[in-house]
């Protein structure tokens, strides 16, 4: 996928000027955070569960190799196969090979962020294989040829009207008089099309919310049930998951599941929580003939043991995104890669590089709402700060701010000079404001006065006035 994080400022300007997007973001802000607050208030042990979940993941990450190997053994014992992919290309190549070996003409796909990350969609679309997204949001953005703008509601930026238009353009034989203005109409139309795909697909690809070491299981949660149909109706089921999805036991997975939907959509539990184990056994009613798991590293193992390890606790619930005032101003596409919001501001520089993504950890007021709601207690601000340090060390902080910082630190370290300079500054600004209390524009602080006035100093610095005996 294209990486446009270096154009974050231009991207965000465009987003702020897009009224359709702004209306969608306003809706988002009024939805999930309010629901979350209600269900969290209803669960007295929520705070304690956060500690439990954090400890489970910390323990797992400290012994990641051990649990991944136990997991692989148990997948094999249940008749499945585990493929290890060091990077995006290995993952793509492995999945494409599995699809071809299965004789796939149609592939159905559940929602998965790591599948976006490895660029599988582009690889499938460049091949002879037909890709059908089965999550409604993913299906909509597939028709519109767009990346997701949110990790749990990928089409949050699209209006009902735009969805109707996309369906009319893509769905052959659609009655032009058919109503597509209400969510129920849209869902019914999508369901008709997806039914056909479920039954014709040779391969179904899903992500995983958890991989369970003790049983070799993969767990997905959905609200539409599309994941179940994707993974049980096709002859071959491919699970694509990044390394950190592993937990030791089923009990661990369900402890964290108690936090996931509450933090995410504000539901107590997702509508469907589906556990898969290997291919269909002789006495199973349904299930795939072949079961593959592609374990994707793609930069994660190099975060282990560093100041970025805690980010691997992330369960991608999107609570940080839903509560972030920067995300809710600009939406997901402005961030320029797969993962938006605070979790993206931490993950993107780690998985790509800081040079191209230095804006993301810098474009935060450090207000801390993200940390406050993160179910896994990830210290997001601290981790963004680590990235800021790297960006500064490598000279990606911007020349102007580097100069300003040097200038400021020079005077901050020389109190007498500082007092003289601030005294002069106050005098100059007061003279410019000439009794009006504010300045409409001022050189060097155009970023400030573009959108706001600069309040004029009250007059005289505190330290000067105090020294003169004023109390």
């Amino acid at each position: 996928m294209n990486h446009t994080s270096d154009r974050f400022i231009d991207n965000s300007r465009a987003a702020l000027a897009n009224p359709v997007l702004q209306a969608a973001l306003a809706n988002l802000k009024r939805g999930f955070p309010i629901n979350r607050a209600e269900v969290v208030a209803d669960l007295p042990e929520f705070e304690e569960l956060r500690n439990v979940a954090r400890d489970i993941k910390d323990h797992t990450l400290d012994h990641l190799d051990v649990y991944l190997e136990i997991y692989e053994r148990n997948v094999r014992a249940s008749g499945g196969k585990v493929h290890w992919a060091r990077n995006a290309k290995e993952a793509r190549d492995t999945i494409m090979r599995i699809c071809r070996d299965a004789g796939a003409r149609t592939v159905t796909k559940g929602k998965s962020m790591v599948v976006e990350e490895i660029g599988l969609n582009e690889a499938l679309d460049a091949s002879e294989i037909r890709r059908v997204e089965t999550d409604l949001g993913e299906y909509i953005i597939q028709l519109r040829d767009e990346p997701p703008s949110h990790i749990i509601v990928p089409a949050v930026h699209v209006t009902k009207e735009e969805i109707g238009d996309a369906f009319r353009e893509a769905h052959e034989g659609l009655d032009p008089t058919r109503a597509l203005s209400e969510p129920a109409d849209i869902t019914a139309e999508a369901r008709t099309r997806l039914r056909e795909a479920y039954f014709s697909a040779e391969v179904g690809i899903t992500g995983a919310n958890f991989l369970v070491a003790e049983s070799g299981s993969s767990i997905i949660v959905t609200n539409e049930g599309n994941g179940d149909l994707t993974q049980t109706l096709a002859r071959t089921h491919v699970v694509v998951a990044s390394l950190e999805k592993i937990v030791p036991t089923m009990e661990d997975a369900f402890a964290i599941l108690r936090l996931l939907a509450r933090s995410s959509t504000g539901q107590e539990f997702s509508v469907y929580t589906s556990v898969s184990n290997g291919p269909k056994r002789s006495d199973d009613l349904d299930g795939p003939k072949a079961y593959h798991v592609v374990l994707v590293d793609n930069g994660r193992s190099s975060m282990l043991g560093t100041n970025q390890q805690d980010m691997l606790r992330c369960i991608q619930c999107a609570a940080c995104i839903n509560h972030c005032p920067v995300y809710s101003a600009v939406g997901g596409h402005a961030y320029g890669w797969i993962y938006p919001g605070p979790m993206g501001a931490v993950l993107t520089p780690s998985l790509t590089n800081i040079a191209a993504s230095a804006h993301l950890p810098n474009a935060s007021t450090f207000c801390g709402q993200c940390e406050q709601v993160c179910p896994m207690k990830i210290p997001l601000i601290k981790m963004m700060r680590h990235h800021r340090n790297s960006a500064h060390q490598q000279g990606h902080g911007g020349k102007v701010s580097k100069f300003a910082l040097f200038f400021w630190s020079y005077f901050a370290g020389r109190p007498a000079l500082y007092r003289t300079l601030t005294g002069i500054g106050v005098g100059v600004l007061a003279a410019l404001a000439i009794g009006r209390g504010r300045l409409k524009s001022l050189p060097l602080v155009g970023g400030w006065t573009a959108n706001r006035d600069l309040p004029a100093p009250e007059g005289g610095t505190f330290l000067t006035r105090y020294r003169r005996g004023e109390r």
């Binding site: 902080g397 901050a412 209390g437 309040p455 009250e458 610095t461």
Partner: protein, 265 residues
């Protein structure tokens, strides 16, 4: 030499070093004087070290911890002898009491020193309520106000009820809560200049919420947020006035509000 102890039944006053913050020093000295007044009313002996400059946060948040450490060392030198350091800002207070120990975590000489002083450093309203349990001299300051919870004070220091409790004792003052008092105003230090358009969207929301609150004066504990909000309100021609919470608590009414907004001219 004979040690002279306190009079029976009295205790020596608490010696407080006022760290006024660079924004108050430059833009709003009245906040500094109001702070001194409140601390003295609560029985403290307040001193203002002249060699103070900044808390180091601009460097710390810009990814330059080495420069931040250099600035904080000067703060340590200036304030280490006080019983407590008081800061009329949750942001600078958070930097000094919350982040400074981490900044010196690997320094065996300055680390323990920094930790000891950080533990004695407090945001103003937190100090008045949680440390001193002070009864302020009741002042009268009529009017309807709304209170914005600045992020660092709220989430790093737990400043939420303290200013509200103190404001409840101001005679004639009515507090009208706005819709989302805990949502960031978009200041964020250098953020508001580097990402000016996003900051503008955030402060626009904040002004809208404050206007809808029914209060005509916005109070907050951080001058950065206040300058941002007051500057925006001034540009928009909003009738809101903006003051630091210390001004309201000390009954300051002889200077115009920040940016002169809310003043009928």
């Amino acid at each position: 030499m004979k040690q002279i102890g306190p009079e029976p039944g009295t205790v020596p006053p608490i010696r407080v070093g006022l760290f006024v913050t660079c924004l108050v020093d430059f833009f709003r000295p009245s906040v500094g004087f109001a702070t001194i007044k409140l601390l003295e009313q609560a029985g403290c002996k307040v001193e203002v070290p002249e060699i103070q400059t900044c808390c180091g946060q601009p460097a710390y948040n810009s990814g330059d911890p080495a420069t931040a450490r250099a600035v904080v060392l000067a703060w340590l030198d200036a304030f280490q002898d006080f019983d407590h350091v008081v800061v009329p800002s949750g942001s600078c207070g958070g930097m000094l009491s919350h982040h400074v120990p981490e900044l010196f975590a690997d320094d065996p000489v300055n680390g323990p020193r920094a930790k000891r002083l950080s533990e004695r450093t407090h945001e103003l309203t937190e100090f008045l309520v949680d440390v001193l349990r002070a009864d302020l001299v009741p002042v009268h300051r009529g009017g309807a106000v709304t209170y914005h919870d600045s992020c660092a004070g709220l989430r790093e220091l737990g400043v939420k009820q303290q200013p509200r409790g103190l404001l409840a004792k101001v005679r004639g003052l009515e507090l009208h809560e706005m819709a989302e008092p805990e949502v960031c105003c978009g200041f964020g230090g250098t953020f508001c200049v580097k990402y000016s358009d996003i900051s503008n969207a955030m402060v626009t929301n904040k002004i809208r919420d404050a206007e809808a609150s029914g209060g005509d004066t916005v109070l907050a504990g951080d001058l950065g947020c206040l300058l941002n909000m007051a500057g925006k309100a001034s540009r928009e021609g909003s009738p809101l006035a903006f003051r630091h919470v210390a001004e309201a608590l000390a009954g300051v009414d002889d200077i115009p509000p920040i940016a002169g907004t809310g003043v009928r001219q």
